[in-house]
Amino acid sequence: MRIKISNGLLIDPANTIEAKHDIFISEGRIAAIGKQPDGFTIDQTIDATDCHVIPGIVDLRARLREPGLENKATIASETRAAAASGITTLCIPPDTTPVLETTSVVELIHQRASEAGYAKLVTLAALTAGLKGEHLSEMAMLKKYGNCVGVSNGLKPVTNNLVMRRAMEYAASCGLTVFLHSEDEGLAGNGCAHEGAISTRLGLAGIPETAETNAISRDLLLVEQTGVRAHFCHISSARAAQMIARAQYDGLPVTADVTAHHLHLTEMDIGYFDSNCHVRPPFRTQRDKEALISSLATGNINAICSDHEPHDADAKLAPFGETEAGISALETLLPLALRLSEELSLSDVIDRLTNQPAKILGIDAGTLSLGEKADICIYNPTISWQMKASNLLSAGKNSPFEGWELKGKVMHTLLDGKVVYSA
């Protein structure tokens, strides 16, 4: 199949391209940009007039709930939602059931994904056995035989500093990046909202900023000691962003991401106990939100991700503190990112969604260089649509953005040169 994508504005931050170019695809790869190669016969033309053509989005963290929680969602349902959102690669954290610590689980995940055929998955292996924070996982074999791109303990803490040191050392010698959810278990306690004005008013157990910063501070010291490459997941506070920036300035091999929802919502959005705003880490203050955006603009926070957590309806139908945390976020990722146009250039927004996350994962994706696999998202930036949870393709309808007017509609998504979604 030979495809021409015509008349679109090509935005490829990795190659600093932002210009009108036609794209020619052959055998699933980018064959040419701009000029039609000699002898190239076109089987299909995709008209991208008024559209932006960008590398397929690489989502650093999405829980697809399979295996283990298929009552919430499946790999098939969520990768389909991903394709409709311009996302072509998703990174799966290891907190599946069973835990992603054997190659059989990895194989199952890849098999389900290829059966569905909507998106590519990469996996993070468990950092510690059973995510219990006690023993090392077989991470070297998971890398070798399961192609795991990194290690992580999911949302579970590694409380024992010695275990964390050893795990980082071992990961470093395997050449694996450690993906960290830095949260001090004791300080976070049974909290469910940012410890601040809103939690005080509503009588909700708070999660203080220090739950994040204290854990990051320990992790940074151990990164420095062990030399492991570390990625900090879903930074939520200004202070944490500052600590990451400082560590990068000092030359530590660290990167960080932020979720799209933390760039738009604050503790205020909890209103009167809106359980769709129950998320971990919690939404913090306006000041934190603005600091996260500027840190993303400077590149100290490297990437935006969905942190997709689809839930069944019952998971959110309870008093706030008794609900499960998380947001169904695949389908709002791109439009929410595009909403940052005042603070970031368009090219930078796309960079944080494609090129940067691919670099963090160390995978060949996130660019439209010649010869690269043709994972492409084509969206119309001017079409606006009203967010309705009931219209989400994801099995999880848990979104706090109900009723928001969002701009940017995905028209086509290509995976290895094949159209997997068309609006």
């Binding site: 410890e195 601040g196 004005a197 939690s199 005080t200 008013r201 509503l202 009588g203 909700l204 157990a205 708070g206 209103g271 009167y272 106990f273 809106d274 019952d314 139908l317 309870a318 008093p319 706030f320 503190g321 008794e322 109900e402 009723g403």
Partner: protein, 331 residues
């Protein structure tokens, strides 16, 4: 879209009673005035008025309580309503039945009002958002969030003794962090125009952001209680000794317990209040709890009248004038 005013119906009348926050001053005064009218019912030979005849009220207590449940029950019965007492202890939840399923079952029993107490903040809002439209919800305490009828009976008590809210200094002593009573009191006192509200306790049990609620924070009891017109002592839960919040009851009493000696620092005519049940020798000395300045038992009595007022306003959504009998003394 989020509806933040689910307490009020389209005409701005009370449809549910979930929190003091957001209610207008006049609404609070109406509750107090109506309660004033109801205080006489308990002194009549026949302690009943027919205001809520034919209505069914279910007390849903997911958390144990004797006093609050009893006063709600009495208030309902004095207005001739039928009362169902449903104590849902933890065993019901371990059966796996969800809160929502339980509500659906009770709705099927044609109940008009739920009086709800629950250990989780926001439970009353949650229930109000999900009940059938003809059912009203009264919050009898949700987690650390709100206990609005308790706050209103406290306001009623204060008004009985002090009349003008706008000249008062009110000190609230104890575990503000975990207290739904304190949060509701603070909202009510602010709405009613009390110029000086103080909260007193060590930093471990006063939220960092307490000042945003419109109070002054004191960590020293002697300073905090100075010249107060009203001293409200909060109950100290035993479990606060765990988790490194406080060292011991002994130390707490020494530093923050209300003794005759400390009470002397308040105004000579200061009243002492407590939402009960009292921990004698922990937050308050017996001689103060039983002393001349204590109005703790009056609070309990007024609690019935205030709950009658709230229930009749919510359920009848009719002013007393339509049903006026012997109890009206037109304010």
């Amino acid at each position: 879209m989020k509806r933040h005013d689910i307490q009020l119906d389209q005409e701005g009348r009370l449809r549910h009673f979930l929190t003091i926050e957001g209610l207008k001053k006049q609404m609070l005064l109406d509750i107090l005035d109506n309660a004033e009218n109801f205080t006489s019912v308990g002194n009549q030979q026949v302690k009943k008025v027919p205001l809520l005849r034919g209505k069914t009220i279910a007390n849903l207590f997911f958390e144990a309580s004797t006093r609050t449940r009893t006063t709600f029950e009495l208030a309902a019965k004095r207005m001739s309503a039928d009362v169902l007492n449903i104590n849902i202890n933890t065993s019901a939840t371990t059966k796996g039945e969800s809160l929502l399923d339980m509500l659906r079952n009770l709705e099927a029993m044609q109940v008009d009002m739920f009086v709800v107490r629950h250990k989780t903040s926001g439970a009353a809002h949650f229930i109000a958002q999900h009940v059938a439209p003809h059912i009203s919800v009264i919050n009898a305490g949700d987690g650390s969030h709100a206990h609005p009828t308790q706050a209103m009976l406290d306001m009623f008590t204060i008004r009985r003794y002090k009349q003008d809210f706008t000249k008062l200094t009110v000190a609230i002593v104890g575990d503000i962090m975990h207290s739904r009573v304190a949060r509701s009191q603070i909202h009510a006192l602010n709405t009613l125009g009390v110029p000086e509200i103080r909260v007193i306790g060590p930093q471990t049990i006063i939220p960092n952001e307490a000042a945003q609620l419109g109070v002054h924070v004191y960590h020293d009891m002697h300073q905090g209680i100075q010249n107060a017109d009203v001293v409200i002592m909060l109950r100290l839960q035993r479990e606060r000794m765990e988790g490194a919040l406080l060292p011991s009851e002994h130390e707490y009493f020494n530093m923050f317990g209300l003794t005759e000696e400390k009470l002397k620092l308040a105004k000579p005519d200061a009243i002492v209040m407590h939402p009960g049940p009292i921990n004698r020798g922990v937050e308050i000395e017996s001689s103060v709890a039983d002393g001349p300045q204590s109005v703790i038992l009056e609070q309990v009595t007024y609690g019935i009248a205030v709950r009658m007022a709230v229930m009749s306003m919510v359920l009848g959504r009719s002013s007393l004038t339509e049903n006026q009998g012997s109890q009206t003394d037109a304010n």
